[in-house]
């Protein structure tokens, strides 16, 4: 565990978002100006293989990284455009029941008007 790897892991864990390699690189440089972009990529791949984090990919955007490798639902709001996690306990079991076979893991992105935007809208109209 090098200083660089520890920093990168911490930055992802602290992030409430789903940062790209470039975004992690920018934050990392604030604390360790000499760090190389290749180091960020190396470590993101390494951490993902170890199961510390998860690489996710969405159309029309660079790969993003998730602070946990535990599968969960991603909401993409058609109104505010935000990408957020949604509590997903029990969803894998539900999915297995529906499909009729065992699921190793899943990636689910839901496009919707997110509950937050939906609430805003109703109260302001």
């Amino acid at each position: 565990m090098t200083r660089q790897r520890a920093l990168i892991l911490r930055l992802i864990r602290e992030s409430g978002e789903h940062p790209t390699a470039e975004e992690i690189y920018r934050k990392a440089k604030e604390e360790m100006p000499g760090i190389a972009l290749a180091t960020v990529y190396n470590n993101l791949n390494h951490l993902a293989q170890e199961g510390e984090i998860r690489k996710i990919s969405f159309c029309g955007s660079s790969d993003r990284y998730d602070k946990t490798s535990v599968p969960h639902i991603h909401l993409i709001c058609d109104r505010c455009g935000r990408l957020r996690d949604w509590p997903s306990e029990g969803f894998a079991a539900e999915l297995e029941r529906w499909l009729g076979f065992a699921v190793e893991s899943y990636e689910l992105a839901v496009h919707c008007i997110c509950p937050a935007c939906s609430a805003e809208n109703h109260s302001s109209n």
Copy 2:
């Protein structure tokens, strides 16, 4: 609707797979040798915006294109590595019930041992 666009749409519709732009380009050149790769990209984007096809993206692979824009489940088999469609009628409704709000569309990739591989395995042991 140009000849090029019609060809590209037909090739995707005829494909049982989820081809990449490069794969579509290779097939297209067999019927129209002078076609440019940029034309393939232009039309894939155009067709996706029109809702004729859907762009999908998976980690570690170029973007792929799906013959329909109707959401459905993708199975990625951990054994054979194949990416296949899975019948998904009623799944959106199930998802909405589970989430508690309306879903515009979704992208779901399930990692598993696919039923085909699972069956093979049992009969040969």
